[in-house]
């Protein structure tokens, strides 16, 4: 009996020791909180591709999908912070306040909030991508490729991110083709394939021969393929869904950033910062250019891509006027990040009003 007790005591000591060593030498664990399902093939899907890159780099990851932007988010965050995660990525704008609130309670856990601006505690960093740079390239292509001079644009919700995209796209298209008209249709959804297809169909029937989108599904490029017009992929490379229609796609590439940040936690070099990366840092990626584009346009696009990456060209370079003709950005100046972040007015040349 005594022997048994001693043996079990020793073995539990050994077990405890092993566990402690494991805890000290453990890998950094990263968690991801998603607004949608990973199966949306859009926003959340791309974040999950980034998460897989973190796994591939040798770290453990967890994710929770379909988390509402409410008190539920706080509960999920607390649970993740309590269960040994060292860094938590919250990948939707609405998680801004929950992230900051929970970050205060867990000073040793790092929090990374996508597309927000609040960093109330030293363990909260923010990050976003300059997708508008990608739309400058799409606008350049659209303005050159259109024959009807009518370009269709399926938009989701009237928020600065979307308005900025419409403006950047239109400015670029006008630069190469002053006669174009951008027709905007608001679908009031991020993804509903049926509705998106209907919106695209309406624009095509109205004479648009190039369709851009700021919604997430592949329904629009498929509709463009059926109707024989051009389109651009959104969030991921959509070429295989519509090989003839898709001229290029703007891809959200979170992987490198995620790997960097998780590594920084592992090395102890993580610091609070606000990241807004574009083409130059590889967060915004332009997919392969379609061979239907004339070679001089391809060359032009490649150069524009390089110039946007190096900072030689800025998507919002003055003079830029709003719809009423008021100067927004003076000649020779570029829009600063503050202006871009809060952009809620159309530039000259965009038709219609922003829904209020």
């Amino acid at each position: 009996m005594h022997k048994f007790l001693i043996r079990s005591f020793v073995s539990s000591l050994v077990l405890l020791f092993t566990l402690t060593v494991a805890a000290i030498a453990k890998d950094v664990k990263a968690a991801f909180v998603y607004i949608g399902p990973t199966g949306d093939h859009g926003w959340t899907y791309q974040h999950d591709v980034g998460r897989k890159a973190v796994e591939a780099a040798g770290f453990k990851t967890t994710y929770v999908e379909g988390v509402p932007e409410s008190a539920d988010a706080e509960r999920v965050l607390r649970q993740l912070a309590n269960s040994g995660h060292d860094i938590i990525f919250t990948t939707s704008f609405g998680y801004m306040n929950p992230t900051n609130k929970v970050a205060k309670e867990f000073p040793n856990v790092k929090f990374e909030h996508a597309t927000g601006y609040k960093r109330e505690h030293p363990n909260v960093a923010t990050y976003a991508a300059r997708f508008y740079e990608g739309r400058t390239i799409l606008g350049t292509i659209a303005g050159t490729m259109t024959k009807s001079n009518v370009i269709g644009y399926v938009a989701s919700f009237p928020i600065p991110e979307v308005i900025r995209g419409i403006n950047s796209f239109t400015l670029a298209a006008q630069k190469v083709n002053p006669n174009i008209k951008t027709k905007i249709v608001w679908a009031f959804t991020w993804y509903d394939p049926g509705k998106e297809a209907e919106a695209a169909k309406a624009l095509i029937d109205q004479g648009a021969d190039v369709i851009a989108q700021h919604t997430d599904s592949t329904a629009i490029v498929q509709m463009a393929e059926k109707a024989g017009v051009y389109a651009f992929g959104q969030a991921s490379d959509m070429d295989k869904f519509a090989p003839k229609a898709v001229l290029t796609s703007v891809e959200n590439n979170w992987g490198p950033y995620y790997v960097d940040r998780v590594k920084a936690v592992a090395n102890g070099t993580w610091n609070q910062k606000d990241t807004w990366h574009g083409i130059g840092d590889g967060m915004v990626v332009i997919s392969g250019l379609d061979s239907q584009m004339p070679s001089d346009l391809q060359a032009k696009v490649k150069k524009l891509q390089a110039d946007l990456a190096s900072g030689k060209v800025h998507s919002f370079t003055g003079p830029i006027y709003d719809q009423k003709g008021n100067l927004m950005v003076a000649e020779g100046k570029t829009a600063d990040d503050g202006m871009l972040a809060g952009m809620m007015t159309y530039v000259k040349g965009v038709e219609g009003d922003i829904p209020k």
């Binding site: 949608g36 199966g39 249709v185 049926g194 998106e196 624009l203 498929q222």
Partner: protein, 310 residues
């Protein structure tokens, strides 16, 4: 703006195409409800049909297997509902809601491996005749077989309910299961059959979305169309022809409001997006004012469980 006659034809054709899933699901649910069973699982059965059709098409490569497989999947999931509500006599509303939640969940689980795969092209009929008659050609020709079936279905359903003996039995079971039972009708069997038929039609409606209308799979792709189909059944006062009208108005306004946006009509966009819902309800309420007719077509025992012993 010059209105081109073929342009009008194109718009009408796209309106009809968008109404197809609503017509299929509503007509299926109509039969279920006329037998006295309220199945709120339409959305769930549709999404199961959508993933089953898409998955089978991707795996087998056969469109026929995929379409019938989707209908079978609808039948299978509605069998659960039928077993619960008819054999175990559970509450229709709660069971139907559970069916929808179950369908959305399980379709997402099955669908994990089918995200990001392009669908196949679905063959269309009479494509050669597309440019023969102005205005009518785009409406009549160049659509999938499911499209033609959907537009025949309300008339078939109407004939079935009014003119056939089995239709009469279905209505009898929905109005007064006790009397029907006393006449020697197996109420449970009839209701089982009607629920399964509703499941098949909802499965087909889902397959239309994932295989023909927008050939792809993404989670939740039915986007609430099941609920609209349910509402159409009620607002049409259980009349298949009015379902057809309601589905066309709903689909039509959804598409026309996009056109109005594209033309630049200065009406608040939020109002335009709400328009299909508002107008469909108003029109259906107005055309269904005759209370005598409503009484005739409303299944009096809708949603009430039937026990043979009581």
């Amino acid at each position: 703006m010059i209105i081109d006659i073929n342009f009008v034809g194109l718009i009408i054709a796209s309106i009809m195409a968008s109404a197809v899933p609503l017509i299929l699901a509503s007509c299926g649910e109509l039969i279920t409800e006329r037998s006295g069973v309220l199945n709120l699982g339409v959305e769930g059965m549709m999404i199961i049909g959508a993933i089953s059709g898409f998955a089978l098409m991707t795996i087998t490569g056969s469109l026929i297997i995929a379409v019938f497989g989707a209908m079978l999947a609808g039948v299978l999931i509605s069998t659960i509902f039928a077993f619960l509500t008819q054999t175990l006599i559970t509450n229709h509303v709660a069971t139907g809601l559970a069916l929808t939640i179950f369908g959305i969940g399980i379709s997402a689980m099955i669908g994990k491996n089918f995200v990001g795969i392009p669908g196949k092209e679905f063959p269309v009929l009479f494509e050669g005749l597309k440019d023969t008659i102005p205005l009518l050609s785009p409406i009549l020709f160049g659509h999938s077989i499911v499209f033609y079936f959907a537009f025949a279905l309300p008339f078939i359903t109407s004939y079935f309910l009014k003119k056939t003996k089995i239709g009469l039995i279905v209505r009898a079971v929905g109005d007064s299961p006790e009397s029907a039972s006393n006449q020697g009708i197996n109420v449970r069997l009839v209701r089982y059959a009607c629920i399964l038929y509703g499941g098949a039609m909802c499965g087909l409606a889902g397959a239309y979305l994932s295989m023909i209308y927008t050939p792809q799979w993404i989670e939740n792709m039915t986007g609430g169309r099941g609920w609209i189909a349910l509402a159409l059944v009620v607002f049409s006062t259980w009349n298949p022809i009015k379902i057809l009208i309601g589905a066309l108005i709903f689909g039509g306004l959804t598409i026309i409001q996009f056109h109005m946006q594209a033309i630049g009509v200065r009406i608040p966009v939020q109002f335009l997006t709400a328009l299909p819902y508002i107008v469909t309800i108003i029109v259906l309420v107005v055309i269904s004012r005759d209370s005598r007719k409503i009484r005739l077509s409303t299944p009096s025992s809708l949603g009430k469980s039937f026990h043979k012993d009581n």
